[in-house]
Point group: D2
Chain length 295, copies 4
């Protein structure tokens, strides 16, 4: 299938390469020329604008940093909706606020282009390996149409409901993740300070009611697990600044929905404080270091 | 074995009954006569004070509401340590602060009585069914000595380390549990307000990085799971006031250890607010109702 | 002077009337016809759009509910900047985010119209009485030009610095106010629960280091002061939902500036929870009721 | 008058010296010999225990670090109540929890010794200068009896109500102070990040509804005020660890009273985090530095 792919950053580039590997013909666009060159070297052809890019595809996929970028790339004069042929399906894989996702989808549909929001989890590692999880918001028909293509880039393709619910699922999951990671950091540090062996403590928590992914799969306390960021100086993984961005989306969405998120907002502020201390580039589990006692 | 059992409340009574069922000879004490009568009817004999009770056993087990009770029952003039024979092992199953647990254990050991703290999880249901988890703090020798006996009351008998670490494990786990439950409440309510089907959302979270016991085993959102308190009006289960007590122990222990627990303290205050509104007797997952919008 | 006045709501209407009383000729616009009628009855003339309205004035003043309204009224095809004559000064008295304020001011200046942001404090009472405080962001020249006219509507006209700083001053003040009010609520309720006479406690705080406007001028505990919302069932005053809006602006601005506001975000969530319980229309000091114990 | 004075630390020593200067005959006790020597050099006589010390006075004053010290010094075998003559009034100036204060006072009264709790504010500077504020809990009769003597050490002698209310007033005030200081830190840092001159911002806040002692008398932002800790590297003043102690007392008292203190608990945790980073010895207004962006 001929696929238009717009946005070739840390996530978009490996995703696009996996589509090429799966045998699709890609036409790509990015504002950074080097990003485009890397993909054309891999077999893709280049377009000069989102509009031109979208005009050539039987399917359009975008992967962009934030809501303003999505609005500009879709709704701008040189944007996707100005170029895409009637009836072509468009998929936005960016993580943005549900409100914007729904607004863009409505405009897309109005022009005759079914749209899905399909934010991912799994990080750059998952993007390289083709093992991302896609959380898809869109009609059942659109989901069935795009799921086989997304399979070239991911392992789990989940249908969350109507347009926007992909974003909702992602921000709700990450809201909870941001909270549980700090919860584990507090519990592990407290236990250590009170004299329990941290591996023993993690073992107990992981088989008890405190059990969670942040403890049993991604424990932030150094020495408890191997092959996690805590075991390699908190490099790699999911950056604290990315968690901060997602908690910001969650807090915003909560405000618009008139829902309170007391712990979520506290977590957001703690990651903000940690980031301002200069550690936004570390894996988000490094927040445990903000709880360490000075020597 | 002849076992002295002191404290026959909601937890202690079924625990003692399970020891009787396992063939042990029990001598019991409680300040409430009716509690004692229920156990003697089940085959136990009664003692007139903790001291008299402890004096008769080859092993002493206590199950009491809080630190002051433990101090009084162990260290008082008519207390356990005043009566127990030299060399007899004593086990306190109460959930109390690690500091007091260590202090009492030190005094017990000084008198020649090895001691273990062995707080439980599993609630009254687990106590009745004999499926409690025991978190044991004490020497390896003491652990090996008492584990077979605890097996009559529980399923998992975990050795956490030296004296006091049983309490540490329990409060660290419950600190995390108190946080994750509110995190799930916030995430589920936010998702519902943003229009995603709550069963779908729970399903996604439960297979993603937000996964936790509070979501996949004890989800607080009504209609998501069966056989949880949320499915029966938040009755039964683990009361909000008990969670509040444990978070208080955690906050206190953190203060003494000079560790900060930002989300833990916020969770404590939210359960306190919820309790003050009159809902302390509800299951702790009912805290989700504090996040509901008025109609 | 002939003044164009756009936005005749609860705040704008009495402000406009005070300008009429001061002898100015007003041309007004509002999307609600009844609001316009009330002002024409008071001597103003009516215009059919922001554009037409702005076109007639020697000075333009706007008073609008939120950032999107300000953008639409200023930058829309039928908006202020499309109509206002070159060189005319424009003043926006709305409370909005500093980022939007600066963006609109830049576009205004580009078209040859000096602009000031001049959000107010003092509520509808101050608007009626002409005793508002204006926090003005703009050049020194603009400030000197408009201060005498603002005097017809307010008592204190403060120059905060360049464009946007009026908004900054307002949201920083209200961020602090939202926090101190909850602080006073917690301190007063705690004192009452611990058995001190609340008037005595307020007296001590008001002459000690806990002293603040929320305690000495607007105490939320019933019976401590007269002539405050707490003395009349929390009616009148500054609504909880308005405080919630301002804390939202502060949290947003903090996010953009990469500053953490831990207590500010917690305060925002507490007002949100209070509002969701159905009390957003009460004075913001009513938040003390969320801390009351059920009877 | 012959006064027994027990506890000659940073606060107690200058307080005792002021009593000597006022012409009283002092008999003193402290566990640190050097502290005692300094006072005897100033004219006091020394006693060998709290009991001996208390036995000689017509009035007993104590100034101790915490609740356990107060219990030991009053209730121990060699303590105040074991020595003091029937009918003599005793005053505890320590800052401790109201519960302990009331418990000790009840035992004192039972033995025939009227007691007052009289915690102070004003720091070591106020102790040296004799300008402390005393918050007195006790009967009207006791208050009238001791106020003239306290006047030798302080400027404001405030009657708060029955026994324990001195402590209640102090912890409620300091709870609020701990919150407002962080509130000011957040507001000032946010304003600075958003581009307003910080002196201008402080000026606006100080004449608006955000006004508070932490802003208008003790502003934490460097350069805004002279003669405050922020102007001298946050040395001197009221240490962050002392604020942390008082917030701990407030949180404990709140727990016992079943009152929630959401912002108070958050403030406590932030000071704890700041202290753990190694800054507990700095003035508490230095907490603003935890909000600074890394360079």
């Amino acid at each position: 299938m001929k696929i238009s792919f717009i946005g070739l950053g840390h996530m978009g580039a490996p995703m696009a390469r996996n589509l090429v590997k799966a045998g699709h013909a890609l036409v790509v666009f990015d504002i950074v020329k080097a990003n485009v060159d890397a993909l054309t070297a891999a077999g893709a052809s280049a377009a000069k604008s989102p509009r031109e890019c979208a005009a050539q595809g039987e399917l359009v996929i975008t992967m962009l940093p934030s809501s303003p970028h999505v609005k500009a790339v879709y709704l701008g004069g040189d944007g996707v909706l100005a170029g895409v042929a009637h009836g072509i399906t468009v998929i936005d894989c960016s993580t943005i606020d549900p409100h914007t996702a729904r607004e863009v989808a409505a405009q897309s549909l109005e022009r005759g282009n079914p749209m899905a929001d399909a934010p991912v989890s799994g990080g750059t590692g998952g993007a390289e390996a083709g093992t991302l999880t896609f959380m898809v918001g869109g009609t059942q028909q659109v989901f069935e149409h795009i799921a086989p293509i997304l399979k070239a880039m991911g392992k789990n393709i989940v249908h969350c409901g109507a347009c926007g619910t992909g974003q909702v699922a992602k921000i709700c999951n990450n809201l909870l993740l941001g909270i549980t990671m700090i919860g584990v950091a507090e519990a592990m540090n407290l236990g250590a300070a009170l004299g329990i062996d941290t591996k023993v403590l993690a073992g107990i928590i992981n088989t008890s009611s405190g059990r969670c992914w942040s403890s049993d799969t991604y424990n932030p306390y150094p020495g408890v697990m191997e092959n996690v960021p805590a075991a390699r100086g908190y490099t790699g993984g999911f950056g604290a600044d990315l968690m901060l961005k997602d908690l910001g989306l969650a807090a915003d969405a909560a405000r618009q929905a008139k829902q309170s998120v007391v712990l979520g907002a506290a977590a957001q502020q703690l990651y903000q404080m940690f980031s301002a201390m200069g550690f936004g580039g570390k894996d988000f589990s490094a927040i445990i270091n903000m709880y360490r006692t000075a020597q």
